[in-house]
């Protein structure tokens, strides 16, 4: 069972009920649960969207798109039913924040789903969890059933004449389904192959209807925002980055865990103060700041605020909030190989640059790592990665390319050392051997 951690610098909003038994619906109600949704029903969609916009909340899945704006894009009139879709397909390596959210506060996700539904005029929401999260799915299913039993879901919720239903759904193992259009395909019972955009989901989404799709943490913030007011939430964070965020700090730190910190919190402090510094007194080598797809940062680049804009300026991304810390003992070549091996495994093969690019980078790095590389390999890896960027339907190609490019650029000497360090007489692996080396 994931253990909870705590630090005085934390500002607990979305995590404020963690460890308080809020999976129990009565306890959740006692802790101000289902108050926000009743206010939302009373005050109407425009009020919800105004508060959400004022909150400055940006998508916690990683893209950082302003949530209030996303909700406002859904057309008011639609012939087809509208849907709310909660993305709990958390699969980005280094990311485990939604895991804790579902475990400790499933009703906040449910209540947020209802609020999103009210905002866009939808009567049906889906909460999609990755297949591996079966025990969490059971917790969410139980919470949904309890909400139905109380009359909080279904027909005439809270006796207000409003109807809203929620269906829970399990995936069956696929990273790519975390991409919004792929998730819709999966929910429609198909392979999780992404759709081309436009049209965007707000116009043509699930079953062809207008759809709002949000990360689970984003959705769980909605009730808190309505209760405290959008402006108050915004003030917790930094400029254009409202509120707080769950950061999962993992790897070589003394106290790994999921911490809720204000947006804009200093990354260096998060690692050295909040997570207790580098494990066993070793030196920091690098940080992958927001899940495996974010460009790596060197130890001297981490004095930066954790928000979408500051991290972008620093040449990387805030991503999913999964901060992976690497100490001096880590081989960047090995780490880069493990990263690309993941993307090669998860590529659906739909777009050729991603299918071929991930495979060839993996093959080339495999021989570099095993001491059979030649000098051109390092350039080839970078060339392959740069040719994937922006050339695929979904961001998986970019997610594989961006970290690869950064590993090579920032740690080029290490790659070259692997190439040059190979012992004389070690047979060079030929292209033919590589092709067969699946």
């Amino acid at each position: 069972m994931p253990s909870l951690v705590s630090h005085p610098d934390e500002v607990k909003v979305v995590s404020r009920r963690f460890g308080m038994g809020a999976t129990d619906i009565d306890k959740y109600v006692e802790l101000d649960g289902y108050k926000a949704v009743q206010q939302a029903i009373a005050k109407g969609p425009e009020w919800i969207i105004t508060e959400m916009k004022a909150s400055g909340l940006r998508g916690r899945g990683g893209a950082g798109f302003p949530t209030g704006m996303k909700w406002s894009f859904v057309p008011k009139q639609s012939e087809k039913p509208k849907y709310v879709l909660v993305n709990g397909d958390e699969s980005e390596p280094g990311t485990c924040k939604d895991h804790v959210l579902f475990l400790h506060d499933p009703h906040a996700v449910i209540e947020g789903t209802m609020i999103a539904g009210l905002a866009i005029g939808s009567k049906l929401g889906f909460i999609y969890l990755r297949g591996e999260y079966r025990y969490l799915l059971k917790i969410v299913e139980r919470a949904v059933a309890d909400a139905y039993a109380k009359g909080f879901l279904g027909k005439n919720i809270f006796g207000t004449g409003v109807d809203f239903d929620i269906i829970t759904q399990t995936g069956a193992g696929a990273y790519e389904v975390g991409e919004e259009s792929a998730l819709m395909e999966s929910l429609e019972g198909k392979r999780g192959v992404p759709r081309i955009k436009p049209p965007f989901p707000a116009v043509v989404g699930l079953y062809g209807g207008p759809t709002v799709i949000n990360n689970a943490e984003t959705i769980a913030n909605a009730p808190h925002i309505l209760l405290m007011g959008g402006e108050a939430y915004a003030k917790l964070g930094s400029e254009r980055n409202g509120g707080t965020r769950l950061f999962g700090i993992s790897g070589h730190v003394e106290r790994p865990g999921v911490y809720e910190l204000p947006m804009g919190y200093n990354l260096k402090r998060a690692i050295y103060e909040v997570a207790g510094g580098i494990k066993d007194g070793k030196k920091l080598k690098a940080v992958v700041p927001g899940g495996s797809s974010c460009p790596v940062m060197t130890a001297d680049e981490i004095d930066v605020g954790l928000d979408f804009d500051q991290m972008g300026k620093a040449g990387t991304m805030l991503g999913s909030g999964g901060i992976v810390v690497l100490d001096e003992s880590v081989s960047i070549v090995e780490f880069a190989l493990r990263t690309i091996a993941f993307y090669q495994h998860e590529s659906c093969g739909w777009c050729i640059p991603c299918r071929e690019g991930t495979d060839w980078i993996k093959k080339t790095l495999t021989r570099v790592y095993n001491g059979g590389g030649n000098k051109k390999d390092v350039d080839n890896v970078q060339y392959l990665a740069e040719n994937m960027l922006g050339r695929t339907f979904c961001p998986l190609g970019d997610a594989a390319a961006m970290p690869t490019i950064a590993f090579v650029k920032k740690f080029r000497k290490e790659f070259e050392d692997y190439v040059e360090g190979h012992k004389a007489g070690t047979p060079i692996i030929t292209v033919e051997q590589l092709v067969g080396a699946h």
Binding site: M1, P2, S3, V5, P81, E90, S91, E92, P93, G94, T95, C96, D98, H99, L124, R130, G131, E132, Y133, R134, Y135, I167, Q169, T170, G171, A172, G173, A174, Y175, S186, L187, E188, G189, K190, R191, G192, V193, Y207, G248, I249, S250, G251, H252, P256, G257, V258, V288, S292, G322, V324, V325, L326, V330, F335, R338, T339, F342, H345, E346, C348
Partner: protein, 174 residues
């Protein structure tokens, strides 16, 4: 009574599937969960599972096969009673995921996707399971075990062999 005569599933699962196809705006949305729940009961996606699910959702068997080949948790061959899934992705790798995998291979005498001769355990190296902050972590069937050491793995295997899985005891190894 199930909607399907001669169903291969237990009455509970058949009833669950009867219900599942009714809840979505489109029946086909039941496909992925149904495949996973079928696998939970039968152990793998057999030809008979594919045939019945195709019939239940009004799909061609080919459609079902096309979907099932996409999802990494779905398998078309039996696995052991307890499927040990070791995460070796970045966060787990940094905290000894590969040592745990090697230990499992050695201890069980099988490799990636292998099954022990007695059919009790099978082993898989898997991608990130979302337990990064409690690494290294494994899943045995659906149960998470985190903050592992090789010693804890030994205790776990013995517990599962003795039928004392967390499913039955509710307790994890600490």
């Amino acid at each position: 009574m199930s909607e399907i005569a001669n169903t291969i599933f237990s009455p509970e699962t058949a009833a669950r599937f009867d219900h599942l196809v009714t809840i979505y705006p489109l029946k086909r949305s039941a496909l992925v969960p149904m495949l996973l729940y079928a696998q939970d009961e039968i152990g793998y996606i057999s030809d008979a599972v594919i045939a019945e699910i195709a019939q239940r959702i009004d799909l061609l068997e080919l459609d079902v096969r096309n979907v099932l080949s996409y999802y990494s948790m779905l398998r078309t061959k039996p696995a052991g009673k307890y499927n040990v899934q070791v995460c070796t992705n970045i966060s787990c790798m940094l905290r000894g995921g590969y040592e745990i995998l090697d230990h499992c291979k050695h201890k069980l005498g099988i490799g990636h996707k292998g099954t022990t001769p007695d059919g009790v355990f099978s082993l898989e190296e898997v991608e990130c399971i979302g337990a990064c902050c409690w690494a290294p972590a494994i899943q045995i069937n659906y149960d998470f075990h985190d903050d592992l050491t090789t010693e804890k793995v030994d205790v776990l295997f013995q517990m599962y062999r003795d039928g004392l899985s967390p499913n039955t005891t509710g307790k994890d190894v600490k």
